[in-house]
C-alpha cells in the first residue's frame, strides 16, 4: 500500500492510500480475458466454451456490480497532482495496448487453425470484437493526454478496432458538444440504441474528418498528407488486416468485418447510455452552458469501474476531461445509472426495458423535475412522452 502525503499549511499533513491502486491491474489485464475461452475450448474440445468470456462479462459483471455495490470515495484534492504524476498508473494503461493485439491475433490464430462450426466462428468474432471495443476505452484514456507517447499509443490501440478517428472526434467533437441536440454521440430521450447507432457511427466519422481537415489546413497540409492522424491509425489497421487476409484467405473476411463492427458497437453502447436525454441549457447568446457533472449519467459501481479505468465516473470526466482515471471523483446527486455499464448495455439492447427504467429516472432528475424543455428529446416525441409520463411531466 503506497501512501501519498501532502503538507497543508491549514490542515497539517494529509495522507492518503489509494485502495484501488493495485486493483487497476484488472483494467490492464481484462483485454486478455477472451483467451480464457480459447484455452477452455482447447482443453475440453467443447466449442461452446468460446462463449464463456462473453457470458461471464454480461452475467457476472452486472451481478458483481449489484452485489459489491458502489464506491463513493474520492482522493483528497490536495494529493491529486501527486496521484497523476505517479507513473505506475500510466504504465498500466500502456500495458493494455499490446494485450489488445495479443487477444486479436490469438483469436485470428484460432479461427485459422481450428475447424470451427459456423456458431463457433460467430461467437469468437463477436467476443473478440467486443474486447477490441474495450480497446477504444484504452484509447480513450490515452487520447485525453497531450504528451506524444500517449498520443502515439492511442493511435496504435485504436488500430485494432479500426477506429483511428475516435480521439479527435471524441475530444474536439463529442466533449465540446456533449448533451446538445447537435452532438451525434449524445442520445436523445425516445431514441432507441439502434436508431442512435445510425446517427452516431457516421456522425462521428464525418465530424472527425472535418476537424482533421481544419487542423491540417492550419498547417498548410492536404487531407492526404502523412500528417493526417486518422490516416496514420487507419494505415496500421489496413496493414494488419490486409496482411492477415492475404495470409489466411477469404475465410477470415467475415471475422474481420464482424469484429470491427462489434468493436464500434461497443463504443456506440457506451455513448448511448452516457448522456441519454441530458441537455445543457442554451444561454442568451446562443451558446450552451458549460458541461456540468449533471450532464452525464454516472456509475460508481466498483467492479465494472475497475475493469474500465473508471470510465463510469463519467460526470467528473466530462466536467474535467483531462483528469486521469485514478483521480476521477464521485459527485453527490448526479444522474446515476442503476447498474454499471455492462448491465446498462443489456438494458439498452432491449429498448422497452431501457425506456421503462430510464425515462422516469431522467424526468425525476433534480435539475429536470418533469420539465421537458430541459431534456434532449427526439424531435416529434414530445407529445408521446407527455402522455406516457403524464404524472411525471410538468406542463
Amino acid at each position: 500500500m503506497k501512501t501519498v502525503t501532502f503538507d497543508s499549511p491549514a490542515q497539517g499533513t494529509i495522507s492518503y492510500v489509494d485502495k484501488k491502486r493495485g486493483l487497476w491491474w484488472m483494467s490492464a489485464l481484462y483485454p486478455l480475458f477472451p483467451i480464457t475461452g480459447l484455452v477452455l475450448h482447447g482443453l475440453t474440445g467443447i466449442e461452446l466454451m468460446l462463449l464463456v468470456p462473453m457470458a461471464a462479462a454480461y452475467i457476472f459483471v452486472p451481478l458483481f456490480d449489484y452485489l459489491l455495490g458502489e464506491d463513493l470515495s474520492n482522493p483528497p484534492e490536495e494529493v491529486v497532482a501527486q496521484l497523476e504524476q505517479d507513473r505506475y498508473y500510466s504504465r498500466l494503461l500502456y500495458l493494455a495496448v499490446p494485450l489488445h493485439f495479443i487477444t486479436f491475433f490469438a483469436a485470428v490464430y484460432w479461427i485459422v487453425t481450428q475447424d470451427l462450426s459456423m456458431a463457433g466462428y460467430l461467437i469468437l468474432a463477436v467476443g473478440t470484437g467486443m474486447t477490441s471495443g474495450l480497446g477504444i476505452n484504452t484509447g480513450h484514456e490515452l487520447g485525453h493526454k497531450t504528451d506524444p507517447l500517449s498520443r502515439l499509443m492511442a493511435k496504435i490501440v485504436l488500430a485494432v478496432p479500426g477506429y483511428g478517428h475516435f480521439c479527435l472526434e471524441h475530444n474536439a467533437g463529442h466533449h465540446r458538444h456533449v448533451a446538445t441536440p447537435e452532438d451525434s454521440a449524445s442520445s436523445k430521450m425516445g431514441e432507441n440504441i439502434y436508431a442512435f447507432a445510425l446517427r452516431e457511427i457516421p456522425g462521428g466519422f464525418k465530424r472527425a474528418w472535418q476537424l482533421e481537415k481544419v487542423r491540417l489546413q492550419r498547417k498548410g497540409k492536404s487531407m492526404w498528407s502523412p500528417s493526417n492522424e486518422l490516416l496514420q491509425s487507419y494505415a496500421i489497421t489496413a496493414i494488419i488486416q490486409i496482411s492477415l487476409l492475404i495470409a489466411s484467405g477469404w475465410m477470415l473476411l467475415p471475422f474481420l468485418i464482424i469484429h470491427n463492427f462489434l468493436a464500434w458497437w461497443q463504443l456506440t453502447s457506451a455513448n448511448y447510455i452516457e448522456h441519454y436525454g441530458l441537455l445543457r441549457e442554451k444561454k442568451a447568446n446562443g451558446s450552451y452552458e458549460r458541461c456540468q457533472p449533471h450532464h452525464s449519467w454516472n456509475s460508481n459501481h466498483v467492479f465494472s469501474n475497475l475493469l474500465l479505468y473508471h470510465l463510469e465516473r463519467h460526470s467528473d470526466h466530462h466536467a474535467h476531461p483531462t483528469r486521469h482515471y485514478q483521480s476521477l471523483r464521485n459527485f453527490d446527486d448526479v444522474p446515476a445509472l442503476p447498474n454499471g455499464y455492462f448491465g446498462a448495455y443489456l438494458m439498452a439492447y432491449c429498448p422497452p426495458i431501457w425506456f421503462a427504467v430510464m425515462n422516469p429516472r431522467l424526468l425525476k432528475l433534480q435539475h429536470i423535475q418533469g420539465d421537458l424543455s430541459k431534456v434532449n428529446i427526439l424531435p416529434g416525441k414530445r407529445e408521446a412522452m407527455e402522455q406516457k409520463y403524464a404524472s411525471l411531466v410538468v406542463a
Binding site: 498547417k219 466530462h318 474535467h320 476531461p321 483531462t322
Partner: protein
C-alpha cells in the same frame, strides 16, 4: 508575447511557441486565433474563457 491559460485544465497558450500540433505557428497572437478556438487540451473551454497570465504570476 503573452501567455493565456485555460481555467479548467491549466493548459497555457504561449504566443512565443504557439502550438505545433494544432497548427498555430510560434508567434501566433492569441487575438489572431479563430473565434471558435477551444482549449487544445480539454476542449471544454473556449477562447473567451482563457485568462491572460501576467508575467509576474508565472513561476517558471
Amino acid at each position: 508575447m503573452a501567455k493565456y491559460q485555460c481555467p479548467d485544465c491549466g493548459y497555457i497558450y504561449d504566443e512565443a511557441t504557439g502550438n505545433e500540433h494544432e497548427g498555430y505557428e510560434p508567434g501566433t497572437r492569441f487575438e489572431d486565433l479563430s473565434d471558435d478556438f477551444a482549449c487544445p487540451a480539454c476542449f471544454v473551454r473556449d477562447k473567451e474563457d482563457f485568462a491572460l497570465l501576467e508575467k509576474s504570476s508565472l513561476k517558471k
